[in-house]
């Protein structure tokens, strides 16, 4: 039994750079680093960047995850230091209401207006 468990370890000595207990944590890590901005790069995520700072921050995030910190705690930790600029998903504030709801509002209003306009036109024709 022990032999069987060890077997994969022998065959695949290579290991993940950031090792997690579960697949979910691995996925969390990818998702989190994929939504944060590398500050020194022109426009890249922490996950994609080769910059030194990006690698340091990935390490910090990994450490925090191992310590059992939640996504929110980790993000708050980074925002405290680098500001909201580090988030590729801007938080919903008073200043970003237009950003988050504007497009949907615009879609509803413009389709509503369009339908109203077509009907009105028809009635006038009659």
């Amino acid at each position: 039994m022990i032999f069987l468990i060890l077997l994969p370890l022998i065959t695949y000595a290579a290991e993940d750079s950031y090792q997690f207990q579960t697949k979910e944590d691995q996925a969390r890590f990818s998702a989190l680093t994929g939504e944060l901005r590398c500050l020194v790069c022109q426009n890249e995520t922490l996950a994609a960047s080769n910059a030194v700072l990006a690698s340091d921050l990935r390490g910090q995030i990994y450490q925090k995850m191992i310590q059992g910190k939640t996504d929110k705690e980790i993000v708050d930790y980074l925002v405290e230091r680098y500001g909201n600029f580090i988030l590729y998903r801007p938080p919903l504030h008073l200043t970003t209401v237009g950003l988050w709801f504007g497009p949907f509002l615009l879609l509803i209003l413009s389709i509503g207006y369009l339908l109203y306009y077509v009907r009105k036109n028809q009635r006038e024709k009659r």
């Binding site: 290991e15 500001g83 909201n84 590729y88 200043t95 950003l99 497009p103 389709i111 028809q122």
Partner: protein
């Protein structure tokens, strides 16, 4: 001597552009020809300066190196701001030239010459911009021997040769549609003939732009080394915006041509499309945004471009406001009709345009108001743009089956209900039977892709299929394949970032990657460390290259078939003797680009139809 000739050619081209813009006569045709000749000559001079490694030319010095391989020295001619701007001018004059040769002879002489004059002013503005702020031929002669700065390694790729010319042929080409619209507004005339004459000048640049965007995505995928093919970077948005507007324009024009409706809307879309092309140019070249591909910036350039855009587009929109009444005609269609569907589609596409513009410019708004500094990236666009586009995909499968003027809902349901239910079911069963987990968005995406595919195929069954219909079928199926590709890729990609050394293996998505050996190799202008892997029996290798001036670049290794890509990127060497390696499993990623390629094919078929008809008519 050659750079001076190039500068001189630019000045002559400017003179010709001014003649083209001011004189209404048969002779303007010669001015177009002269301008095209001298701009081509200037481009040739620039390329020759690169080939000769003429480092006294500042632009060459900053974008080349004496070790740079020949083919990239040619491509480097448009690898920076100045040269790519020259390419822009050249492409514009090539379009104008093509317009003279191929334009519909039924177009009235006045309309024809008005269009040429408008294009003349547009060209003059850009050549003036080139000469006054961004002359690629500027020289100086430092005393010490000069070593070139080298072309950014990321650009040293075959993508550099094809992608920019293709992309520019796309969005610069919309200048013709823009000029058509202005001519129509000035003359107050917009009839069927006019719409037909305009059509190829929208289809062709739209096809080029579609394919140009695909080439860019493919290039970024191979170069950037993290398996992504779209990042919502401002430079990508700059090309997607005119594409979306042009897609709306294309459909609106069909209605204008066939049903003589939506005329005002078509004119507005033609202006918006070109405005977005210009906006994109401004965003990339002015330095107002942080992008992966920002050109070196100089505030004077931004100011010139902005003034120019304000003048041209502001003027066009003012003209539109004044003259649009003439084109108003009460509509002949009912609420439930193909016209309404196409209008809704236009509205959705424009909302998508507004969304991307908002997402791209919002950080500037907040900063200008001194409120906050934020980033807006992929997560935002995925959350907002995707749901907005979904209804457009639903309509896309439906609209070709809806009658003009009026349609009964029940008849439509009877006709299309089966295809709809079938696609919903298949989208559920297919991933399940292959053992993939269920995800709501994945299901929606695949359903919509299948729905477009099935309903498009269904339209083949009954209708008489002319070339135009085929063009629509191919293009819509292209979108269907793209949508399925995106959904599958976004949902089922896998990746691992690992530490390993030669001799070790790692599993990903059922594939065993074995690290065989590490080589040191030398290229024409770089030294490289190459990690050789095998997957099954297939070799795959990734590199880390070091170019002159210690610029490094990772070169990814990819093996692919129709279903999936296996992707390998080599990272840094670690102190413990391991190498940091990233491997990706990317299902259906090629479908995305193939779908985009089908848009080009669809466009070409439509063009073929256009010229066949024209020949028939003569």
């Amino acid at each position: 001597m050659i750079p001076e000739l190039g500068s001189f050619a630019l000045i002559l081209a400017l003179c010709f552009a001014l003649i083209q813009g001011t004189i209404r006569s048969e002779l303007t045709v010669n001015a177009v020809f002269g301008q095209f000749t001298f701009l081509s000559f200037a481009m040739l001079c620039l390329i020759i300066s690169f080939i000769n490694n003429d480092m006294s030319v500042i632009y060459v010095r900053e974008h080349s190196h004496h070790l740079l391989p020949f083919i990239y020295r040619v491509g480097a001619a448009w690898g920076g701001h100045e040269g790519s701007l020259l390419l822009w001018c050249l492409v514009l004059s090539a379009w104008t030239f093509a317009f003279i040769i191929f334009s519909d002879k039924k177009l009235s002489k006045t309309t024809f010459s008005t269009i040429l004059m408008i294009l003349g002013w547009m060209s003059a503005g850009f050549i003036l911009f080139l000469l006054s702020t961004s002359n690629p031929f500027q020289r100086d002669f430092p005393l010490s021997p000069i070593i070139g700065n080298d072309l950014t390694p990321v650009l040293q790729d075959p993508g550099l040769i094809f992608h920019p010319p293709m992309l520019y042929s796309g969005y610069v080409g919309f200048a013709i549609a823009f000029a058509f619209a202005i001519a129509a507004l000035l003359e107050g005339k917009f009839n069927k003939e006019w719409a037909r004459a305009l059509r190829p000048w929208i289809i062709l640049p739209w096809s080029f732009l579609s394919f140009g965007i695909v080439l860019g995505s493919w290039w970024a995928y191979r170069e950037l080394g993290w398996g992504g093919w779209w990042f919502w970077d401002p430079v990508e948005n700059a090309s997607l915006l005119p594409w979306l507007a042009a897609t709306a324009l294309l459909h609106s024009l069909i209605v204008s041509e066939k049903r003589s409706a939506f005329k005002g809307w078509t004119l507005l879309l033609a202006i918006i499309t070109y405005a977005l092309s210009l906006l994109g140019t401004f965003l990339v070249r002015s330095g107002v945004l942080v992008s992966v591909h920002a050109f070196a910036n100089d505030p004077r350039r931004g100011l010139f471009l902005l003034g120019y855009i304000a003048l041209i587009i502001g003027g066009a929109l003012a003209l539109y406001s004044i003259r649009i009444k003439k084109f108003f005609k009460p509509s002949q269609f009912q609420l439930f009709s193909r016209e309404t569907f196409l209008l809704i589609n236009s509205v959705i596409l424009l909302t998508a345009v507004a969304t991307i513009t908002l997402g791209t410019l919002y950080p500037i708004v907040l900063e200008a108001l001194n409120l906050e500094k934020i980033s807006i990236g992929e997560p935002y666009f995925n959350t907002v743009f995707v749901p907005i586009m979904l209804p457009a995909l639903l309509l896309m499968g439906l609209a070709p089956h809806v009658h003009w003027e009026k349609q009964s809902f029940l008849a439509l349901w009877k006709k299309m209900g089966l295809a709809l239910l079938l696609s919903l079911l298949l989208a559920f069963l297919l991933p399940w039977s292959l053992g993939y987990p269920f995800g709501f968005l994945t299901w929606m995406g695949i359903s919509l892709g299948l729905w477009i595919l099935l309903s498009t195929l269904q339209s083949l069954l009954k209708q008489k299929t002319g070339l135009n219909h085929w063009a629509m079928i191919v293009a819509h199926m292209g979108i269907a394949i793209l949508v399925i590709g995106v959904s599958v890729n976004k949902s089922y990609s896998e990746e691992r970032q690992v530490k390993m050394q030669p001799g070790e293996s790692i599993m990903l998505a059922g594939y065993q990657f074995t690290f065989d050996s590490l080589d040191k190799t030398k290229g024409p202008n770089f030294e490289s460390i190459k990690a050789n892997f095998t997957v099954g029996n297939e070799p795959i290798s990734a590199e880390q290259r070091i170019y002159p001036h210690d610029q490094t670049l990772g070169k990814t290794g990819i093996i692919f078939n129709g279903w999936r890509d296996l992707y390998l990127a080599l990272g840094n060497s670690l102190p413990d003797g391991n190498w940091s390696i990233r491997i990706y499993y990317k299902p259906c990623v090629r479908w995305i680009w193939f779908g985009g390629f089908m848009l080009l094919i669809g466009g070409m078929i439509s063009l073929l139809n256009h010229y066949q008809k024209r020949r028939g008519a003569l």
